[in-house]
């Protein structure tokens, strides 16, 4: 489990401020979505938290570790927008990619990714190559690849953005099922209101650049969440609340 702390964090590219001074606490084991318009700096913020980009000022810690250290210890597992599978590796080999590099930082009890692949419904595609899979299946491999690390923090950057609506809904249900009970902290970047509400314990609404959190909305839908969570009147109410916050944040 992982606790993320941000204190007066800023990030600029040259003279361009991308993340405004931002303070934030993310509790261990919670699912937090960062929702905002395109180009508002969400990706930059998660890259700073994942240790891929240094902060310009302020402080970030992941489990009391500097992001750079957390990254070196493989304590952050990423699921990017594009699955980024290696076309010459089979599904099974792709799912092991992150375990195959920087091995000394692997958890002591690495397991085969086989069970995870079966769990996400890819049991019949272990030897298939990425080009033989649909977009949703490819993203499921990417999900297994990240979960296989058993990292306490899962960072997902618009992972379902390139998928069709039916597949997206299916992936939401799958993701809920996978993270519930695993105790993993999830930081999920999205620009879909429904996706944020269906998945999260908490939705952080971001303003346009420079990014700052304009609303912090608790999602009190019960868990485990079923595929029909979106039919719940409370879901509709929460979506509306998030939508208003998003629009309010976009006013100059």
């Amino acid at each position: 489990m992982s606790r993320i702390v941000l204190r007066e964090l800023t990030k600029s590219f040259g003279a361009l401020p991308v993340v405004a001074p931002l303070s934030l606490d993310i509790e261990s084991g919670s699912f937090v979505s960062l929702l905002g318009p395109s180009g508002c700096g969400k990706t930059t913020l998660v890259r700073v938290i994942a240790g891929l980009e240094p902060a310009t000022a302020g402080r970030v810690t992941v489990d009391d570790l500097a992001p750079r250290v957390a990254r070196a210890n493989k304590r952050v597992a990423m699921v990017p927008q594009q699955p980024g599978l290696l076309p010459w590796r089979s599904v099974r080999a792709n799912s092991r990619l992150l375990l195959d590099v920087n091995r000394r930082a692997n958890p002591a009890d690495t397991t085969d990714t086989l069970d995870l692949l079966r769990e996400v419904g890819l049991g019949d595609f272990l030897d298939a190559f990425p080009h033989e899979l649909s977009g949703g299946m490819q993203q499921r491999v990417a999900l297994v690849r990240a979960l296989a690390l058993r990292a306490p923090l899962l960072v997902m950057d618009e992972p379902f953005a390139a998928l069709d609506e039916i597949t997206r809904t299916e992936m939401r249900t799958l993701l809920n099922r996978l993270v519930e009970g695993r105790g993993v902290t999830v930081l999920f970047v999205t620009h879909s209101i429904g996706e944020a509400v269906a998945l999260s314990d908490r939705v952080l609404v971001s303003s346009p650049r420079p990014s700052s959190v304009v609303a912090d909305i608790a999602i009190d839908l019960p868990r485990p969440r079923s595929a029909y969570v979106e039919d719940d009147p409370r879901f509709v109410e929460l979506c509306s609340q998030v939508r208003h916050a998003l629009h309010a944040g976009m006013q100059p």
Binding site: A50, G51, L52, R71, A72, K74, V76, A77, M78, P80, Q81, Q82, P83, G84, L85, L86, P87, W88, L97, L98, D100, V101, N102, A105, F129, P130, H131, L149, V155
Partner: protein, 255 residues
């Protein structure tokens, strides 16, 4: 499928038939062009000599290619990691590519004291520019999403190179190999003709070219080189089909 196999055979047979007819109908002088039938007959009559020479020549071309490829992978990996070094190396590589190697090959032969060494050196040198450019382009073309992903778990440079960048360069390297196979055979043939030894198809060709009476031997040497080139490309295609199984170029296409 049968059509697919039959078409190239038919095309090639038609080409040989036209050639044969052209030489006979227009009575082309002997040392300018021989009909394919006499060249092939000569090749068959002296098959033992040609077989021995072919093993030397194909060895020169193959070993030179492997040396060139190895040097190019090391050089390309280093250059793809550093723009400045790449810019610095570009004119030299271009020079190797555009300066006609036949112009300085006799100096190389003298320098390396004849025999196998100048042949291998020239083949390796000749293959290097295309291989290096392919390596750089292929490595740079690696999927940035995957590179970033590996960075997120602090993968080492060598791991990224081996697991992502190098395999990403494989398709470009195969394309370069297609070109370099013909090129390496041409270089091997030429240098064998001037390396003070009597080995290889190149030296048969050289001896034949110096006397008008051996036009058949010269054209037999041309045929032998064509066969080697053809076999080389076939071997490459087979290798490509296994190594690049995953690549879009190797998937069956409709139609």
């Amino acid at each position: 499928m049968i059509k697919r196999l039959l078409a190239p055979v038919l095309g090639f047979t038609a080409f040989l038939a036209l050639w044969e007819a052209f030489v006979r109908v227009f009575e082309v002088r002997k040392f300018i062009l021989r009909p394919p039938s006499t060249a092939m007959r000569h090749l068959w009559n002296f098959r033992d000599d040609f077989l021995a020479a072919a093993s030397i020549t194909s060895g020169h071309a193959a070993l030179g290619l492997v040396i060139g490829l190895t040097v190019s992978l090391l050089l390309g990996a280093a250059l793809s990691a550093n723009r400045f070094a790449e810019w610095a190396a570009q004119p030299v590589l271009t020079l190797v590519q555009v300066v006609p190697w036949v112009a300085y090959v006799s100096s190389v032969v003298l320098w390396l004291d004849g025999g196998n060494k100048p042949v291998l050196f020239m083949v390796a040198l000749g293959c290097t520019p295309a291989f290096v450019f392919a390596t750089i382009d292929g490595m740079r073309g690696a999927d940035p999403a995957t590179i970033e992903l590996l960075a997120s778990v602090d993968a080492g440079r060598w791991e990224v190179l081996r697991r992502v960048r190098l395999p990403s360069a494989a398709p470009a390297l195969f394309t370069a190999s297609r070109f370099n196979i013909g090129f390496s055979l041409a270089i091997a043939f030429y240098v064998e003709g001037s390396n003070f030894s009597n080995e290889g198809i190149g030296s048969i060709g050289r001896r034949a070219a110096s006397q008008a009476s051996s036009a058949d031997a010269l054209w037999a040497a041309v045929f032998a080189m064509a066969i080697l080139g053809f076999l080389g490309l076939m071997a490459l295609s087979l290798l490509e089909r296994t190594v690049l199984r995953w690549h879009v170029s190797q998937r069956s296409q409709p139609g």
